[in-house]
């Protein structure tokens, strides 16, 4: 990436350096909302059992925008699916608000990367209202009202009665986000939600997501393989190493948003993560 622009150098000098944040460390921490404690995950192929993640320890606090960053094969998506309850850990435990995660449930709504996550037989407003009725037990009118309000927020008011196949990829992801927001889950899980979008739409969606977070302050667990996206969207990044996934480190990035793209300190942060991502693995170095 060569996004460095010279005019930002004056700003960059004033911007705080990422690792220096001792003042915040002194404040006593509340209990984490989501605790991933010593979690190992395995998946089965026809021939063998593969360890996708090994003894992961991560704490996610309320209103965090927590990003799982890593190359493919680091088990970040598998970890997200474990938090969602689709996969059971082979060791360790995942607790949400102190309650162990056992199975999928509407307190952890997932936004997938794939566009076919929206039932095609429901219009946009029905798609958002359906889980409100099915899982939250709201009455029809109530669910529709809440669905319409959330659809307004993501800017799809004009498409409320359209079917998913009539929407573009970015609009479908907006519906998926609206559906998740309307449910007001304890934690919103996003599995590379913008990876299948074109670059311009992706940037727009990142901006909108940050604006929505500013308003709702929901807790996000966001999986990505893009360093820039991790720094822009996240407030804290956990870097995972591949084969099997282990936590390489956690880094703060709450000071960056889309306007910091190209600034010196942002570039330095990108470079720092980049170096850690591409360092030779200990096995090959030996």
């Amino acid at each position: 990436m060569t996004l460095v622009i010279e005019r930002d150098s004056a700003v960059a000098v004033r911007a705080p350096q990422p690792p220096a944040a001792p003042r915040e460390m002194l404040r006593p921490l509340p209990d984490p909302l989501l605790r991933i404690a010593g979690v190992s995950l395995e998946y089965r192929t026809p021939g063998r059992v593969v360890r996708a993640a090994h003894r992961i320890d991560l704490d996610v606090y309320e209103a965090d925008r927590f990003v799982l960053l890593g190359p493919s094969g680091c088990g970040k998506s598998t970890l997200l699916k474990a938090v969602a309850g689709f996969i059971a850990p082979v060791e360790g435990e995942i607790t949400l608000g102190g309650v162990p995660v056992r199975k999928p449930g509407p307190d952890r709504i997932v936004v997938f990367q794939e566009f076919d996550q929206l039932p095609p037989w429901k219009t946009v407003v029905e798609n958002v209202a359906f889980p409100l009725r099915a899982a939250r037990g709201l009455r029809h009118a109530e669910a529709l009202e809440r669905a319409r309000a959330t659809i307004d927020k993501v800017g799809l008011t004009a498409f409320a009665t359209s079917y998913p196949h009539q929407l573009s990829g970015g609009m479908k992801q907006r519906v998926a986000i609206a559906r998740a927001l309307a449910m007001q889950p304890k934690v919103l899980l996003m599995d590379e939600p913008f990876a299948a979008l074109d670059a311009l739409t992706r940037r727009k969606m990142q901006e909108e997501l940050l604006a929505l977070w500013d308003e709702a302050r929901m807790t996000l667990l966001f999986v990505t393989h893009s360093i820039e996206e991790a720094l822009v969207v996240g407030s804290r990044v956990a870097l995972l190493s591949p084969h099997p996934g282990r936590v390489r480190g956690e880094y703060n990035c709450h000071e960056y948003d889309l306007s910091s793209l190209g600034s010196r300190s942002f570039q330095a942060a990108v470079q720092r993560l980049h170096d850690r991502l591409f360092e030779p693995s200990p096995e090959t170095a030996r």
Binding site: F86, P104, W121, P131, A134, A135, H165, Q166
Partner: protein, 290 residues
């Protein structure tokens, strides 16, 4: 680097585009093209062409006993409808047909629901369909007559057999084709068991289910007519198949053709009215099929 390899540097330019008024941006298609886009018109033309071919062939053959003309068949059909006899026969056939079809659909749905939820159900479904799907329903008729006697019971038994296996196979194939994100979305909402099957799997697999329903309907219809041809009137009340058989024995060939024409017509109506409308308000509207 040689100068020939670098592209020439050209001046930039900037244009202000006035509103486009030279020609309309969109225009209507010519009338013949629009007419040809109407499916009912194209299909109607096919039917008219077939009727003309039949009429021509029958006149050339010139033997009412072997092949009555389309006109003669139509008038026999009108006579039959006017006297009410053919209507009564059709009503008897359709009553039995709908009963057998409904039972078959319910059983197929139960079997596939079992198959998606348990390993044992899957084995049961695949074994049973492999065993019974190749068996022609009509071959079971002698057995059915032995068990259920000469009457509706035997007919419904063979109808269920004709509908159940192809529909179960199609429905199960449709369930297996439901994309993973959609399945996980359903489970994410906390849906389980029958609610999960009914609210996620069935609508998502509807294209396959509908094609299974269509195949099942055709199988049921042909099985019923064949069964009525074989053992005729059940307790004195014969259906459309019996009507055809009886008139063939009495060499009323035009009535035989009238009966066949009615079977075809009912098939066409069910296909183009019932199933096509069902598809239009569901899978086509939802963009699951083009």
């Amino acid at each position: 680097m040689s100068p020939a390899l670098s592209p020439p540097i050209r001046p930039e330019y900037d244009r202000v585009l006035p509103p486009f008024v030279e020609a309309p941006v969109a225009r209507a298609l010519p009338l013949p093209t629009r007419l040809w886009q109407q499916g009912w018109l194209r299909r109607g033309l096919i039917l008219v062409a077939l009727a003309l071919l039949w009429e021509g062939l029958a006149r050339w053959q010139d033997n009412d006993l072997l092949l009555p003309t389309f006109g003669a068949t139509l008038s026999a059909l009108v006579d039959g409808l006017a006297s009410g006899e053919i209507l009564e026969r059709t009503r008897i056939s359709l009553t039995v047909l709908v009963q057998g079809y409904a039972v078959g659909v319910v059983l197929a749905f139960g079997l596939t629901s079992l198959a998606v939820s348990t390993q044992f159900g899957r084995d049961l479904l695949s074994t049973l369909t492999a065993m019974f799907n190749p068996l022609p329903a009509i071959a079971l008729l002698p057995l059915a007559l032995l068990w259920f006697g000469l009457g509706q019971g035997s007919l419904i038994f063979v109808l269920v057999h004709a509908v159940l296996w192809p529909l179960a196979l199609n429905t199960y194939a449709g369930f297996q084709g439901v994309p993973d994100p959609l399945r996980m979305t359903g489970r994410n909402y906390g849906l389980e068991g029958l609610r999960y099957v009914g609210q996620i799997l069935v609508p998502a697999a509807l294209p396959a289910i509908l094609s299974g329903l269509k195949i099942g309907w055709a199988f049921a219809w042909r099985t019923l007519i064949a069964a009525e041809l074989v053992f005729g009137a059940s307790s004195g009340r014969g259906g459309l198949g019996w009507y055809i058989f009886q008139n063939r024995n009495e060499l009323y060939t035009d009535r035989v053709f009238a009966g066949l024409l009615l079977v075809i017509a009912i098939g066409l109506v069910v296909e183009t009215v019932v199933f096509a409308s069902l598809e239009r308000v569901t899978v086509r509207r939802w963009g699951q099929v083009r």
